[in-house]
Amino acid sequence: MTKSEIIDLLARKQSHLSGKDVEWAIKIILERMSESLSTGNRIEVRGFGSFSLHYRAGRKGRNPKTGEPVNLAAKHVPHFKPGKELRERVDGSKASCLIQA
């Protein structure tokens, strides 16, 4: 399922809204979420899950091509923790369906 597929699906279910508005809205939802994380703020959606930042300390790495040592700066990476409802629903369906790409 991709972004455009979810937009089509929601536009069909919310037929009183224009497709353009639904598309705009979904893009704004994802943009607000990205923006929140990139300014160091968590996201919490009950039943779905929460997003936070995890800190990765700087380390010495190597350029895999030349073998030259490089310093990798400390950084933050996004982390998602599924909420209880999502965890239970996904696990509960494992016997009845295979994972599809």
């Binding site: 991709t2 300014t39 999502l86």
Partner: protein, 99 residues
């Protein structure tokens, strides 16, 4: 400040001009659609943001951390989030300490 569903609803109301009811319904439906898609065994991919991927885990030995007693962790299906390039890059440059 933590971003919540109520904040997103407020945003849609202000920026897209949906009324509060429409904005709330749409936000609820958006997250519900992701949940039911994952529940049906299908991965969800948002380019630029990231992918919600399902993984089947085998049973593995575990331990009750309090009693130290060995109990197996049962086989389960879990969701993992793999952030997209764009989101990873935006977050990487964040230098603050508050989460």
């Amino acid at each position: 400040m933590t971003l919540t569903k109520a904040d997103i609803v407020e945003n849609l109301h202000e920026e897209v001009g949906l009324n509060k009811r429409e904005a709330k319904d749409l936000v609820e439906m958006f997250f519900e659609e992701i949940k039911s898609t994952l529940e049906s065994g299908v991965n969800v991919k948002f380019s630029g943001f990231g992918n919600f991927m399902l993984r089947d885990k085998k049973e593995r030995p575990g331990r009750n951390p309090n009693s130290g007693k060995e109990i197996p962790v049962s086989a389960r299906r879990v969701v993992t989030f793999r952030p997209g390039q764009k989101l990873k890059h935006r977050v990487e440059t964040y230098a603050g300490t508050d989460k």
